[in-house]
């Protein structure tokens, strides 16, 4: 009987090995381990055997059954894996088709991006960012900035006035972000380090002037602040915006609310400040000058402090500097935008270029 079991084992192993698919293997299992299988019958009939045979037949039979079961299981796993691979190989996609787009990302307007860049740079230098009103009283836009009524400097800025209960020219659209110098000083005693980005308005419209544009104002007031500090601050800012090799140039100028006043230029980043390109041609960006005009600045005029003396600004104990420049100009220079009006045209083909 034991020999028969061993023969069955050999046959079964051959059959299992020969099985090439999960169904064939299942056939083999049914033939050799199923209810009607010979081995199953032998094991079921053990009780009918003579006592001396029961032990060897039982142990051999069970051992073979377990071995076959293990073999089938192992073979099943192998076959399943092969079949999976086979079916995967048949399940092909065209990987060259376009992917399902994620929700397309939009774009932040270049003016906003540039404004944020300037804000971040100035925050890094210790400044707060403040907002001021765009519809403003004449007092803040002109008078407290040392433009008395009838001052010719008022004519430098073509002003939009607002209809206002019969008072002509009392309320206006701010012509610069500078009114916030006075508001901020009224609200905060020195030391004060702040910038004001925002919209400004002048009654002027052509290729280089927009009736609405954006400026950034800066103001630093405290003890011992000098014109040299203004230079260092502007230089640090310009290097962050235009690159570490930039230089600054300050030209004396006139603004009613700063004294001394300067205009400031940055060395041209296109030609490195030489005014000419590698091929010897004239640099188009700076028009061969090597410098690009950016904005105005200066030391806060003592007369301006006089308007905020109540708030702790005594011109004999504090000094300060202020600066202002256009955001569009920075954006145009950084991104090579040739026409100011493109910023307010809001064509998505333009906006989409600024990621």
């Amino acid at each position: 009987m034991v020999e028969r079991i061993e023969e069955i084992e050999a046959e079964a192993k051959a059959a299992i090995e020969a099985a090439g698919s999960v169904p064939e293997l299942e056939d083999a299992r049914v033939s050799y381990l199923g209810r009607k299988a010979e081995l199953t019958g032998i094991l079921r009939g053990i009780a009918d055997l003579p006592p001396e045979q029961r032990g060897p037949v039982g142990s051999t039979g069970n051992k073979v059954r377990k071995a076959l079961e293990a073999m089938i299981e192992a073979k099943t796993d192998g076959l399943k894996q092969i079949e999976l691979e086979k079916s995967l190989a048949g399940d092909r996609i065209d990987v060259t088709l376009p992917g399902t787009p994620a929700r397309a990302v939009g774009h932040i307007h270049p003016i906003t991006r540039t404004r944020r860049l300037i804000e971040d740079v100035m925050v890094g230098l210790g400044y707060q960012v403040m907002e001021g009103p765009e519809i403003e009283h004449d007092y803040y836009n002109f008078t407290a900035l040392n433009h008395p009524a009838g001052h010719p400097a008022r004519m430098l800025q073509d002003t939009f006035y607002v209809e206002h209960e019969g008072h002509v020219e009392e309320v206006l659209l701010r012509t610069h972000t500078s009114p916030m110098q006075v508001r901020a000083m009224e609200a905060t005693p020195p030391p004060l380090f702040m910038i004001v980005p925002g919209k400004t308005y002048r009654r002027d419209s052509d290729a280089t002037h927009s009736p609405m544009f954006h400026q950034v104002e800066g103001l630093a007031v405290g003890e011992g602040i000098t014109l040299a500090d203004l230079k260092g601050t502007l230089l640090a800012m310009l290097r962050e915006i235009f690159g570490p090799d930039r230089e600054i140039r300050m030209r004396p100028h006139f603004f009613p609310f700063t004294e001394p006043s300067v205009e400031f230029d940055v060395s041209c980043f296109h030609c490195g400040g030489s005014g000419s390109l590698d091929d010897g041609s004239r640099c188009g960006l700076c028009k061969g000058i090597g410098w690009i005009e950016l904005g105005g600045a200066g030391m806060v005029d003592p007369n301006v402090f006089g308007f905020v003396a109540d708030s702790g600004y005594n011109p004999d104990s504090v000094t300060g500097f202020a600066f202002g420049f256009g955001i569009e100009r920075i954006a145009m220079l950084r991104h090579g935008v040739g026409d100011l009006r493109l910023f307010f045209d809001n064509d998505v083909r333009m906006l989409g270029q600024f990621s």
Binding site: L97, P98, A104, H107, H109, T112, E119, V123, G124, L125, Y127, Q128, E131, G132, P133, E134, I135, E136, H137, Y140, P148, A149, G150, P152, M155, Y161, V162, E163, H164, V168, E186, P191, F193, K199, P211, A220, G222, G224, I225, T226, A228, D229, K231, G232, R249, M250, R251, P252, F254, P260, D301, P302, T319, F344, N346, D347, V348, R349, L351, G352
Partner: protein, 843 residues
Amino acid sequence: MKVPYGWMADYCDPGLAPGDLAEKMAMTGTEVERVVLLGPPSADNFVIGKVLSVEKHPDADRLSVCRVETGSQDGGETERTIVCGAPNVAAGQTVVVALPGAVMPGGMKIKQAKLRGVESNGMICSEKELELGEGQDGIMVLEDGPAAGAPASDFLPVAEPVLELEVTPNRTDCFGIYGVAREAHAISGAPLAAAPWEGGPIGPGVISEEGDIEALLDQEGSERTADRVRIVVQDPELCSRFTARGYTDVKVGPSPLWLRTRLIAAGLRPISNVVDITNYVMWLTGQPMHAYDLDLVPKGELIVRKAENGEKVSALDGSEYVLNEAMVAVADRNGLAGIGGMMGGSVSEVSESTTTVLMEAANWNGPNILRTSRDLGLRSEASSRFEKQLHPDLTLRAQAVADRLMVEICGAVPMAGLVDVSVPAPDSVPIRLRAGRVERVLGMAIDIELQIEALETLGFGVEREGDDLLVSVPPDRHFDVVREIDLVEEVGRISDLDRNLPATLPAGPGRPGGLSRQQSLQRRAEDSLRESGFDEIVGWSFTDPEETGRLRLDEEDPRSRGVRLANPLSEEQSVMRTMLLGSVLGAARRNLSRGADRVALFESGRVYLPAGEFGPGPLGGDFPGKTRPPSNEPQHLSAVVVGPVDPATWRGGAGESDFFALKGVLEHLASGLGVELTVEPLADPSPQPFLHPGKSGTVKAGDRQIGWIGELHPLVATSYDLDAAAAFEIELAGLVDGSPVGEESYVDFTPFPPVDRDLAVVVAAAVPASGVIGAVEAAGSELLTAVTVFDVYSGDGVGEGEKSLALRLRFRAPDRTLSDEEIDPVWNGIIAGLSGIGGRLRG
């Protein structure tokens, strides 16, 4: 201000190429817009010639063959033959010859040529050809004097460099050639000649050595100005000084060539010698003048007074101006004879028949002139100087210079003395420049000797007191330099500021910089829309008054009452916007008309609302400052989507841009700020008439209404040429105020599992989902932690006018696993609560 280089060089020749001088001026405070060359591109090969003989051309009637002495250019011949077509050429004339090689204005190059068989070696020039004038026919004839062969540019502004200065309004001194010369002197260190009113040179044709201000006042004569002229100033606050001087025996005619060409170089038009003298003096001294034909001034009487409303004057420019009582006029006994400080009147205009002249040099009130100029729309060279406020003492300078010119050029006989009606000139008190003050402001030490030198070269008087300086200010700087700080600027700008000033950083504010929480959250909100696929636009703050009509806003709606501009550029930009919607819709229309197939746009910007009716500053809170701004300017966020939110792909169709698509975007934005938004149906009639009344809602953060969302009303969509669109607009402060970002406090989460139960409830179709959820939440006790709608159904099995909502309810306790026995009573309460709003379970 046009400054012919040669004219300035009469007083100071800085010895710099004009471009280098321009650069130096720019670096010391006077911008030079450009340097242009007058006439030909180069002065080379233009020389003085003497016409020796003139003969008729043998073969041409209109041509002459001239022998001209031109000096020797190469050591050879000193004479040459030139064929000339001008009728006025004659032997003995001194002329300008363009030698072969000379380049004419416009680029024509003079060459040796045969004209009808006669060799011609150059060209005798006319004024027109050299762009030195218009009038005179034929060649330009100079007065005798210059030697043959000398460069013409030594005597005439041939290829003269002209600096076009952009003078800042404080620098009235640089509106005169002498002031510019002094600036050149301070910059270059080159010597400065005496001023023309102090015996210095006046012009190449003026030779008398006499003639400073003292001499003017001392002059004696048979006739005195005061005998012929009477001046009454009724408004001395508008005219602080009026000086007049009379002249007899005036011979009016064209000015000499040198004077005419100087005026042309300065951009002025020569008229007649008397008028040209007033302009020349103005250009030289900065003080405008006016000349009257004294015989046309009845009784020689001029009255300075305010005009009457509607009073008319015909001015020298040929126009008639209507004045008002704020304006100051010069009147004679019959009526107005001029607009004070602006322009003279034609009634007493100097003409060819004039023989007696009254020269006026007056001082006017700057702000008044500025306003008059603006109100009349008239700006003259005189008014552009007076409006910046000149010092009254400049009047005498002008009279002294004019006096010499009148005598030498017009052969005039001055009447003795001046009529000088004035109020006392403003005090001139020396200013103290304290030791160390320059360094303290500039952050750069400047040696005190150098400070003194800088101030003195600029014309200030300096007295040293220890280490302080006492500085007196000349009249032409009187209104500009009034304080110590102004002296600091003067010293600084002359001390090569740009090169010498160090670049340092201030000690700092003593606290870190940073964005406010509101500013950071604003960025976060904007970035959220960007991530949702929206492009940011920057729209105009001003809009068209028709916009509120396009948006179907009622006249009663406060948003129809935007702030109006008093002087808009156009009607389309005459009102400040009260909403962003019009701006984003306009941008959407523009992009679609240019071929975009879908647009998703947003704007983050302010709207402008009358003060008091709405909230305060842009991000909540007031603007800083003691005086409240005239308007409220809340920051809004508005988005519009037209066409699919997500484009169609090969795998499927486009996502719809309906209400829910945009609501999802808004919810995404809010959740990015940690805010839970709710949208509630609008009241009836709709407060947002630009929206589809059934597909729109009010956006709330907590209990606060912060805006609206909806699909556009079809009529509004049509008026913006849009098929259909969804939009929202919210007030950013409402979102930011409701945001817990940065202020969240941690709540321990529970390890015990939740129990989810679903229910389907049938309610009337009009009951909003938020009402159903509200009823569930109200009855749910603290065990109910979440309710979500996962299906909405109407149709078979649900009654007419009803809908079925499927809800998933999640129950959870922090400290135990919930049993059915605990949940059942709550569940029953919820069912009861639902029946309270007319709901029944769907079985």
